[in-house]
Symmetry: C2
Subunit: 456 residues, 2 copies
């Protein structure tokens, strides 16, 4: 099989890359209403490519938000079915001035594809489309494949939830396979066995009913920026532990053996600091860097604004200040509960000199894959086939909001076969995806189907 | 005299207003480089109007920044000379969406002129131009008048400083008269006897060298917004007292009698709160609202920004966060010293997980007019003539950066005859100036010249 697959993929590799670049040219930013038409255009391209790759059918399913693309190739209903989940929407490209090339004008430089969505997640879900094409064209497909490619992952998968609940039969599968995470490196392949949950809120602090002259009123009227800063500052104590009462209550403490396993994964704090250009790491006292992002919940301020932010100086005491705040959650924490805790806590600490409005953007539950399940074993075997090494199981820091719901509604496990790298600048300027990783993913995925069919 | 003045002003009042509106249509925003041409256009209009009003000469003087307009009407070198200082530059109009009409599209509604600069300071310095016209046209001018109208007051009067030092002879005068402050109300006329000084800085906090995914890195890398918030939060203690060591060292404590005088000025805290839409006032424990803005130094955050500030949600851990921070200073504090204290303090409290850059925008010294000087007495007498009441001396919260330098270099006192109101939305959306106050200023100013010539 492997020779056939390799020959086919080698022959078509330039086209595989060009097709991805074409999709990356569509600015499918789900957070911005002005990209509504681009979202539809991108969904149509996904549909077309699925059909070209050999899907029996591919449909665009409208939602109250952005559409979902569903596709399938059913070879035999008695065979195992793999449901591939991914997303065609991308993060906003801001700040634009920090990109070295246009975010939607993909270029290949030093073996890397630079574009918004190259890794997260167009480049990664498209590996599955090309893997299916490979298996179909070489007559080696041994599983049924379903595709559920949504357009709202970056904004919380709100409408996918309804769709999953209403279409359990359609989505019925034996495993859910997702490529939307990273591996340590091509030399040290790894599989994420956990993703963190998310609670994302926005707060608006209102002081006076209008912007004021900071000389005439300064010192006598609460400045909403000062108050918001004090509220944010109070969320972490001197050990960088979150101060919200009850925040850690449901956290399952990782076992010593899991912590030992994490500590044994190759990691250089010096290289980490050099890569990020920082003098010192930061985080909760008593935990290592990988533990801080893997097994511990966090609160981050994703954005803040208020007052005069233009060129030069303006002596204003602003009426309002705003912040976007998100918490990452670990297994056994619940997004709904943490969102409520967070909002209630902010309301409680808001002083009477200002008004606070706190609203939910979106949330998602944490998820963990048991390393002893068959799906994980099939993924590990596939990695071994193409990398020649057993993958290291690691806990990732990111979130894929729909995971917990998938498991609950469809009753099957999820496996994260990610081929990105942490250094791919996800959600940042100059997002990239190594061409080699893209091809390696396309090469590895058919082995997953082979092993999963055999184990199952 | 008064009948002649009144008749002339009454006859020309519509034109007086129209000329002001014409000047308000020029967006002379000194902080923004894109308004460079507008600044020149506005300076040219000031020059033209001075000549039309009877000035012997009026010149536009180029500086390394925006030009200064100098004009004069010398009737007799042996007579007293009044130097009128004002500024034709205005604050940026942001946030634009909160204006009910265009900031540079002046309209008159309910007897108020709504436009950026209507009160601060085009409307106020222009009263002096029209007062001069009145005296010239009615042959009643009894002093020499010099005008120094600059274009950089809102950005710290950087180049005016050089100009004053280099042109002491040209600017030689017996008093400096400034209308760039407020009075309590037309029913309770007042004269500001003090303006606060200013230190205005900008800080840039850099964490990682690029924006990061807040899931992949969150909890392990210092977030510059969190760090900046903690630094800002630490600047005031639980009594809203500034925590920077040495900040209050040079403050002259107001005497009990001055505090009693301030307490006797008409002021309703309930009305103040209702006007601003706040439930509670804020400020340094142990001081009243008027003391907090009048006799105490303050620190305000004028702007803050960092991370994602657009629509929707973006899970980013940003590379940078910024703030604009200013201190208002009271007599005997020194802008240079406080700026240094502030910057050094921020550098000192900056943790090693981030890089801090703090730079000066501009500064200015505090100033006080002695109530027993002749110039103040002339102003008080003029107010009495047209309002029928003795003005209340009050301490204003704002700053006019050039005052201390004027006194030092020219050796004369400064009098603030302001006709604005605190509620005029200076530096805010919907800045206004009551038409009645504009006319009242034009009516009152000739009396100042009359009294000053007589006293002198």
């Amino acid at each position: 099989m492997s020779q056939t697959w390799n020959d086919y993929q080698h022959k078509h590799k330039d086209r595989f890359l060009e097709e991805l670049l074409e999709m990356l040219r569509i600015p499918s930013v789900s957070a911005r209403t002005e990209h509504k038409a681009d979202m539809i255009r991108c969904a149509e391209m996904v549909q077309k490519r699925l059909l070209e790759a050999g899907a029996d059918k591919a449909e665009i399913i409208a939602t109250a938000g952005h559409p979902i693309v569903y596709g399938e190739k059913i070879i035999d209903p008695t065979k195992p079915t793999v449901l591939v989940y991914g997303h065609y929407d991308v993060q906003p490209p801001d700040p634009l001035e920090l990109w070295n090339s246009g975010p939607f004008d993909p270029i290949i430089k030093d073996g890397k594809i630079f574009a918004r969505g190259s890794c997260d997640d167009k480049g990664q879900f498209y590996m599955h489309v090309k893997a299916m094409e490979t298996m179909v064209q070489t007559n080696t497909l041994c599983t049924n494949i379903k595709f559920c490619i949504e357009g709202e992952e970056e904004v919380g998968s709100m409408h996918l939830t309804e769709f999953v609940i209403a279409n359990k039969e359609l989505l019925k599968a034996d495993v859910i396979l997702i490529s939307d995470t990273a591996m340590l490196s091509l030399e040290n392949p790894s599989i994420d066995i956990g993703v963190r949950g998310l609670s994302y809120i926005e707060v608006e602090v209102t002081g006076p009913n209008r912007d004021l002259h900071s000389g005439v009123y300064g010192g006598a009227v609460a400045n909403p920026i000062t108050i918001l800063s004090k509220m944010i500052a109070s969320l972490h104590d001197e050990n960088n532990r979150i101060t919200i009462p009850g925040f850690y209550d449901d956290v399952i403490i990782a076992t010593d053996s899991e912590r030992q396993m994490m500590a044994s994964a190759p990691f250089s704090e010096e290289e980490y600091k050099t890569d990020l250009g920082i003098k010192e790491v930061w985080g909760e006292t008593g935990f290592t860097t990988n533990e801080r992002t893997g097994i511990r919940p966090t609160i981050e301020i994703n954005g803040i604004w208020g007052g005069y932010t233009g060129e030069g100086a303006k002596t204003v005491l602003p009426s309002k200040a705003f912040a976007k705040i998100s918490a990452r959650l670990v297994p056994n924490q619940h997004s709904h509960k943490i969102t409520e805790l967070l909002i209630n806590h902010l309301q409680k600490i808001a002083p009477p000199t200002i008004e606070l409005k706190a609203t939910l953007h979106h949330g998602g539950e944490p998820y963990m894959t048991p390393v002893d399940c068959k799906a994980y074993q099939a993924a590990a075997a596939a990695i071994y086939d193409t990398f020649g090494k057993k993958p290291i199981p690691v806990r990732g820091g990111g979130s894929i909001p729909i995971c917990a719901l998938f498991e609950k509604e469809l009753g099957v496990k999820i496996v994260f076969m990610g081929f990105g790298l942490d250094s791919d600048n996800l959600h940042s300027p100059n997002e990239k995806f190594n061409v080699e990783n893209y091809y390696k993913g396309i090469e590895t995925i058919p082995y997953f189907h082979k092993h999963f069919a055999a184990i199952k």
